[in-house]
């Protein structure tokens, strides 16, 4: 076991975490940044392994150099697994157990995709939208493949045009929200100039992307690998289309597990004040885990959190205007891409809900909370620890999340044993 001490500990290396680390280091604090991915940038700024000159890759490289120059210690492939106290965390990296002791902690653990169960969603070839994007950036080849992009949110068009640049044939972009709501969202972009240029350039680059609003996939067919997708809409008309890959994501959910382990108050995301302080003293939170709003919100919240964690409250407060504008955009996102009720009725009795343990819908639909479901059906007992099925059941059945239990990610037994011995040794 290794002990490390820092003034500010940032958990998460996406836009919010990078901004927080830079701001705190700029204010003269010693800073350590952890991320469980092999590379910095999080999901939004994931670099393309086949394109060193991609804008995201350059952005992250620039930030990495600035962090190094400011003396920030960056630890990749490192995961927080348990907490002794809100500012004393246990982390795991390559079978090494780390005890991290900080004065202030900034949580920036981001979001994951909401994957909703429907018949066939477990077939090889069915991915999340951000999921397929991430795999393609990591080298998955889509050249000449027929792809259906489905679900909801601005990510759909962004990913569809990125996949097309990699040679994919985009068969359909299915946006579950209605044409009217989509138009309202498009008009709203005029109020956020940088978002506007982003949106416009997307549409221009996208050219004639085959976008269909008010439609969604209701079944994925294959033998067992994906071959066809059945699509439906509000009028109940259906059609079946041939495709090689289906990217399907129904928006993002904040990753609040660590925040909840530290007893931070959470509603739709981690609850924070205007200085990004959580309900727990010395614990700050920034970015998507406080509510979904995109990278501009993440950057300004990260900067505020980093400054506030470093004690620079006046500079942190000076960013209040940008934060307000970013939050207004987040509210429009939530309103215009709200999920329609029909998506709750895609599951059939034998649709798998828990992918790890193969628990079907018929076993879980009558349960009233996540803990009870888990204890009686094994739903959420697998290695993903409910990361996929719990948000799905929260949407389908209104279940609140189960209490997070350490270790927050699966670790080898040896690490668990070492953690246990160390904790008991400390207690004595």
């Amino acid at each position: 076991m290794k002990r490390e001490r820092t003034e500010v500990l940032v958990v998460g290396g996406g836009p919010a975490g990078l901004a927080a680390a830079e701001a705190a280091a700029g204010a003269g604090r010693s800073v350590m940044l952890l991320d469980d991915n092999p590379r910095l940038g999080g999901q939004l700024w994931r670099a393309d392994v086949r394109d060193a000159q991609s804008p995201h890759g350059r952005e992250v490289d620039g930030r990495r150099r600035r962090l190094a120059a400011a003396g920030v210690v960056v630890r990749m492939a490192t995961t927080v697994i348990d907490a002794e106290a809100p500012t004393r965390l246990w982390a795991h990296c390559a079978d090494e157990l780390l005890h991290l002791h900080a004065d202030r902690v900034v949580l920036a653990s981001g979001a994951r995709e909401l994957l909703l169960p429907f018949p066939g969603w477990t077939r090889p070839g069915v991915f999340g939208v951000g999921g397929l994007q991430a795999l393609v950036k990591a080298g998955l080849d889509v050249d000449g493949r027929r792809v259906v992009v489905a679900g909801t949110g601005p990510l759909l068009l962004a990913v569809a045009s990125a996949l097309r640049r990699k040679g994919a044939k985009i068969v359909h972009v299915l946006e579950q929200t209605s044409r009217a709501r989509l138009a309202r969202f498009g008009l709203g972009l005029w109020r956020t100039p940088s978002k506007l240029t982003q949106g416009l350039s997307l549409m221009l680059r996208g050219g004639a992307l085959p976008l269909r609003a008010g439609a969604w996939p209701c079944e994925a067919h294959g033998d067992p690998t994906l071959r066809r997708v059945t699509v439906t809409d509000a009028r109940g008309s259906t059609s079946t289309i041939e495709c090689d890959l289906l990217a399907c994501g129904f928006g993002l959910v904040p990753q609040t597990r660590l925040a909840r382990l530290l007893s931070c108050e959470v509603d739709d995301g981690v609850v924070v004040d205007a200085l990004q302080r959580t309900s727990v003293p010395n614990v700050f939170a920034a970015g998507e885990l406080c509510g979904i709003g995109g990278h501009e919100k993440a950057l300004v919240e990260g900067q505020i959190a980093g400054l506030a964690a470093a004690g620079q409250l006046r500079s942190a407060r000076a960013l209040a205007g940008s934060r307000r504008r970013a939050l207004a955009f987040a509210r429009r996102l939530a309103r215009d891409f709200a999920l329609r009720d029909a998506l709750r009725r895609l599951v059939t009795d034998d649709t798998i809900v828990c992918r790890c343990e193969d628990v079907p819908w018929s076993h879980v639909r009558d349960h009233t909370d996540a803990r009870h479901t888990k204890l009686t059906t094994r739903c959420g007992m697998g290695p993903c620890q409910g990361r996929v099925c719990q948000p799905a059941l929260a949407y389908l059945l209104g279940h609140g999340p189960d209490r997070p239990r350490p270790p927050l990610r699966p670790v080898p037994l040896g690490v668990l044993a070492e953690l246990r011995t160390t904790i008991e040794g400390t207690a004595r």
């Binding site: 070839g125 951000g130 999921g131 990591a138 992918r355 790890c356 993903c384 996929v388």
Partner: protein, 84 residues
């Protein structure tokens, strides 16, 4: 850094682009059963970012390693459910 590296997937050698994740390399090599679910269904990556655990394989003898979070390294030995 070389442009390409070699890894072995279920005993067969594959040339992959440097920096490629194991998950992407396996999919490109035609692997569709990264793991097999308790009821016997083949599973492949879904989330692409270390959340769903569907992409887990044995890498250099280490079981249940997330292939989407692991970059390929020269000489790496990967075993999928196909071989298990």
């Amino acid at each position: 850094m070389p442009d390409h590296i070699c890894i072995r997937v279920d005993g067969v050698e594959h040339r992959v682009g440097a920096g490629t994740s194991v998950a992407a390399a396996l999919w490109n090599a035609g692997v569709r059963a990264f793991r097999v679910s308790p009821s016997g269904a083949p599973r492949a990556p879904a989330c692409g970012m270390g959340t769903c655990f569907e992409c887990r394989v044995t890498i250099d003898g280490r079981p249940d390693t997330l292939s989407c979070q692991t970059p390929c390294r020269e000489g790496m030995e990967v075993r999928t459910a196909h071989e298990a």
